[in-house]
């Protein structure tokens, strides 16, 4: 039973609208004199990118990786270390991000994927802790305090990613391309096999797919995307610190993915937006916001719905029913739509 494929259904229209609206933020903010929001939303875009990367591993492949912050940190340090060495152009830095995150992703992924379930969670966590401790111990690179970046990445043609405006658009562009690719990937053979492996790992192998290799590829791809997010974050803050690799960041990414709707295309964007905005609002009320945020996350875990995208799919059913064309099985639509 196909869900309505109207372009204006809430589960597609609202997130798309949101994405497009974000494009308008810099000029609007400039006009209103509220420059703060450009940087704030740039951060949202970057975390949405990282959450999307995690979504590939968590939502599509069904692997609970608790160490993705490692690659965010690595990406950030690629920028800071290159800038220290005098390398300021963005392109070689990006190559460095690709190579370092790709290699370390492949290495940690290959070892981690030898476990499953609980073991996988713990070992990915342990690997990100490794990274954290390495960089904390490297006192000459700032250690615990991190490194500030004097010279931010230059894209060429005079564009400096260290200033908020180019960074915002760069982040938006990368996110948009990533989301498009994630959408295409869902229905491409690799994506279908990956999503199949989440439902039934043994059968995927029995069908002829090299399951572990697919999982590893997904892991490496998501590591590189997280590294890209780290690259952007370093330019946004002009700063790189081990704290970016901490388990708290990994945990927050997981919350964002689940909150937005695991396995959906726009989920990570909605989740990152909701999470960061909520955090910001709560921080302004009380310094002990974690006391309330913590139980909220517990509640999300206990209720276990399909997140924000699940709510939008429910709206799909309510708003866009085509009553004339025969019987509509509402539960099937929601189930079908929510999984799409």
């Amino acid at each position: 039973m196909k869900t309505t494929s109207s372009l204006f259904r809430p589960s597609l229209g609202i997130p798309l609208l949101l994405l497009l609206a974000l494009l308008a933020v810099p000029p609007v903010a400039a006009a209103l004199g509220a420059q703060f929001y450009v940087g704030f939303l740039a951060r949202v875009l970057i975390y949405a990118l990282a959450a999307s990367a995690l979504n590939l591993v968590l939502g599509y492949a069904g692997l609970i990786g608790f160490g993705h912050a490692l690659f965010i940190g690595l990406g950030a340090y690629c920028v800071s270390l290159s800038s220290l060495a005098g390398l300021e152009s963005a392109w070689p830095q990006l190559l460095l991000v690709l190579v370092s995150c790709g290699c370390i992703g492949a290495l940690t992924g290959a070892i981690s994927l030898r476990t499953r379930g609980i073991g996988f969670i713990m070992i990915t966590l342990a690997f990100s802790q490794m990274g954290y401790f390495v960089f904390v111990s490297l006192k000459q690179y700032g250690g615990d305090d991190g490194m500030s970046i004097i010279a931010t990445s230059r894209l060429g043609a005079g564009i400096d990613l260290g200033s908020v405006l180019p960074l915002f658009y760069a982040a938006w562009g990368v996110l948009a391309v990533t989301l498009l690719w994630m959408h295409r990937l869902r229905h491409a053979p690799f994506g279908m096999a990956l999503r199949g492996s989440r439902q039934n790992l043994a059968r995927i192998s029995a069908l002829g797919f090299p399951a572990r290799r697919l999982q590893l590829i997904a892991y490496v791809l998501s590591a590189i995307l997280c590294g890209l997010a780290g690259f952007l974050l370093a330019n946004l803050n002009a700063y790189a610190s081990p704290g970016l690799m901490s388990w708290q960041v990994s945990g927050e990414l997981i919350v964002m993915v689940v909150l937005g709707g695991m396995g959906s295309v726009f989920g990570p964007l909605l989740g990152a937006l909701a999470f960061i905005c909520l955090e910001e609002v709560m921080k302004s009320y009380t310094e002990h916001w974690m006391l309330i945020f913590g139980p909220m996350i517990i509640l999300i875990a206990l209720t276990g719905r399909d997140g924000l995208m699940g709510a939008l799919h429910w709206l799909d059913v309510r708003c866009c029913q085509r009553g004339a064309s025969g019987r509509i099985d509402a539960t099937a639509i929601v189930a079908n739509g929510a999984k799409q």
Partner: protein
């Protein structure tokens, strides 16, 4: 001599890890519940013990308060949240316990402030003991003794009592135990609570040695994860041996690796890489074990 002292320190850290690992590995193995909040229980134990000890002047009272307090918190957590999560998948466990970590860390800093809490070694144990010619801090030695005693107690309980038999059965086939009519919910609650109490004991005991502050639980928790992965999920015996191994490797590594490196490479490189490498040792150990024997050194489940 220095080697021997560090070995003992390693054993002391090891028994601390065992106290944490024992409860955690059973919860993992039998209920298949991923409990990230175990470190928070350790932290609460440390805080409760420290504040009661400082208030009453009696370390023993603090210890007792920590044990009972963490037992109570464990029961509460289990009934309110954990029990509802058993039939959900691991992701929900991760999320829920992640939320718990946030909550407890914030609670701790709200109740006790952001500054580390200081608790002194009880006067009775404040001294040195002469071990084969080495003067070793009596308190640390006492910790080793207590840890080993708990290990013996665990062994006795698991292999000599009916409860232990249920635990071993549960580790092997949890569904079957429930089908046999055993009140699996009570068993689960009991296991979780005992694990919490052990974590609290570890925290209480660690107070005089390490600093008591919000967030102290997580680094130790991650080391505990390494212990469990190496030892084999669900195996208390595995947890014991691997806790000692991890404790010794970590402590001796941190103590001697930078020194060793200086013999081999330039002083500059050694000073830079030494501490980093030392903190990596236990993770490298875990990676090696996983590469060679993914199920861990001891297998509890068939």
């Amino acid at each position: 001599m220095l080697l021997f002292a560090q070995l003992l320190n390693g054993l002391q850290y090891g028994v601390l890890l065992f106290l944490l690992a024992a409860g955690l590995t059973l919860v993992f193995g039998i209920m298949s519940f991923v409990n990230l909040a175990h470190g928070s229980l350790y932290m609460m134990g440390a805080y409760i013990a420290a504040s009661v000890a400082n208030a009453t002047g009696s370390f023993l009272l603090g210890l007792l308060a920590a044990l009972l307090g963490c037992l109570a918190i464990g029961v509460l957590l289990e009934r309110v949240a954990v029990a509802r999560l058993y039939d959900k998948n691991h992701l929900n466990h991760v999320l829920a316990t992640f939320g718990m970590i946030m909550f407890f860390n914030e609670l701790a800093s709200m109740l006790w402030g952001k500054q580390p809490l200081f608790v002194s070694v009880p006067p009775m144990l404040d001294g040195v003991i002469n071990l084969f010619g080495l003067p070793y801090p009596l308190y640390r030695f006492a910790v080793i003794v207590v840890g080993l005693a708990v290990a013996v107690g665990c062994y006795w309980m698991i292999h000599r009592t009916r409860l232990g038999m249920l635990i071993r059965a549960g580790a092997n086939n949890a569904a079957m135990v429930g089908a046999l009519g055993i009140n699996i919910r009570f068993l689960n609650a009991l296991l979780f609570a005992v694990g919490a109490a052990l974590a609290g004991l570890a925290g209480a005991v660690a107070g005089p040695i390490l600093s008591v502050q919000a967030g102290m639980g997580e680094p130790v928790l991650i080391a505990t994860f390494v212990v469990i992965v190496i030892g084999g999920i669900g195996s208390v015996k595995g947890a014991f041996y691997s806790a000692l191994i991890v404790g010794v490797v970590d402590t001796m590594g941190r103590a001697f690796l930078p020194m060793l490196l200086r013999e081999m490479v330039s002083r500059q490189l050694a000073d830079a890489a030494g501490p980093a490498l030392a903190s990596l040792l236990i993770y490298l150990l875990m990676a090696a074990v996983l590469a060679l024997r993914p199920q861990g050194l001891f297998v509890a489940r068939r």
